[in-house]
Amino acid sequence: MACSTQFTRILLILPLPEAESADLRSPGALRDLGQLVRRPIEAMGPAEGDRYASDWERMDAGRQAAYRAMSEPAKARYADWRQGFERNTAVPSAETRAEQAADLLGSILAAAATPEGFIGYVPASVNALSIVRQLPSLARDIAEAVNSVVRSFRNRLGRNATPAELIQALRVVPQWVELLRTGKIEKGGLNLHKWGAPESTTPFGWREADRFLVLPDQGAPKPNWRQNSGRIREEMHSDDPIHDSFRRPLSGALKESDGFLEAERKLLEERGWRYDPHAGSWNPPEQ
């Protein structure tokens, strides 16, 4: 297996919003995605992926090491390779942000998900792409999500992250899912949150201007709630959507809660605000 063959196709396996339980490697899923981003997507089929995996597993350690050593010059050649790839595959240059994001993820997965993929290659490829300049937070989130997977397998000889593991990692980047769905990224704003929950403490997925209410302790729950609800009411006067970060990443369904968060939700409900699972936000009543 020649090292260069890994780049003959983009391995693009994606967290489609409605496809949580579907086989994301199916041609249908990729065709749908291609229509969404108006960009042809070629996929490495499951059988082909399995063949790569078994080839790699059978390879002796010395040869695996040799392949890995090839990654360094390949990194240096990436920009040239990328241009050649675009020419050879006749994929038009990415124009919309969704196209750029699809392109970016295709590159990442091609590098990271194939068995002989270049461990440690992801940051270089991300930095090489224009999306970093245009959407730095998204690029960082995608790179971090993928890197976190690649890193966890770094010390296991012959074992990179599998596509399924990468898909799972990317599901924690809601911006990515939103971008695929809508072709655009909305600005952030006030986020209701559950104290200490992973959804609140994750470094991933935040948009520009996302924020929490952080208020001084008044010494007891009752005055704290009075202060909290007062500030929420003030925020409601602006009629800007109020985001709810304690939600399921793909469906947008609210996660059930109690306490302050539930009280905040009730406050919005009582004032006629409606929760939109697609946007993950509460919106003011229509006048």
Binding site: S148, V149, S152, E165, Q168, A169, R171, V172, W195, G196, A197, P198, E199, T202, L215, D217, G219, A220, P221, K222, P223, N224, W225, N228, R248, P249, S251, G252, A253, L254, K255, E256, D258, G259, F260, E262, A263, R265, E269, G272, W273, R274, Y275, P277, P285
Partner: protein, 207 residues
């Protein structure tokens, strides 16, 4: 229980250090189960076994809510798969009047007593979650997905009912239909009747 309250609690809290409290209360239960302490902070205690991460989260600056959370390690997925004790107890259908779904503590004594109750409930009702049973967590995950969907539907339905009620009062039948129609299967008899009347009047008015 003294110091365990609701949003209405006006009691000033003492300087609760949930890390220390957890160490003394949970240690005797968790250590024999092969959990080891990983984090011990005033607002967070964490224990880990080979299969499960066990967290106590305490919001000591705003709501004073205390939560016991279990997460089964399974590669990356655990990042968004933590489950609170109340979810485990509801899933198990224990029917206990107190499922610890909304607990606030404002004193160290109350925190100690509450943690003791919580860990006993977990050991008694859901020991398979402490041992990290894959089947148990998978079943809980499915139940929880359905539960969240139903909860979100409930939020939407409540809003729709309120909009329909207001629209009915001002005889805005178009708004009544718009509010109720998406929730046909969950409407009460009187709501269905209103929807029928509103639809008829809309149709009549358009003729």
């Amino acid at each position: 229980m003294q110091g365990v309250g609701t949003l209405r609690s006006n009691r000033r809290m003492d300087d609760i250090d949930i890390g220390k409290v957890s160490d003394s209360v949970l240690g005797p239960v968790l250590l024999p189960l092969q959990f080891r302490p990983v984090v011990q902070r005033p607002d967070h205690a964490q224990w880990k076994s080979d299969a499960v991460t066990f967290d106590i989260i305490f919001d000591r600056t705003n709501s004073y809510e205390l939560d016991m959370i279990l997460t089964r390690h399974r590669g990356l997925v655990h990042r968004f798969d933590p489950f609170s004790l109340w979810q485990i107890l509801r899933f198990k259908g224990t029917g206990a009047p107190n499922d610890f779904s909304n607990v606030q503590v404002t004193s160290t004594d109350a925190a100690r007593a509450l943690l003791l109750q919580m860990i006993h409930a977990l050991v008694e009702k859901g020991p398979e979650f402490l041992s990290g049973s894959r089947e148990a967590f998978t079943a809980l995950r499915r139940w929880n997905a359905r539960n969240d969907a139903a909860y979100t539907d409930g939020v939407a339905l409540r809003g729709a009912r309120e909009r329909a009620r207001r629209a009915w009062a001002r005889q805005d039948y178009k708004a009544v239909v718009a509010a109720l129609e998406p929730h046909l299967r969950r409407l009460t008899g009187s709501e269905l009747k209103r929807l029928e009347i509103a639809t008829t009047r809309l149709r009549t008015g358009s003729r």
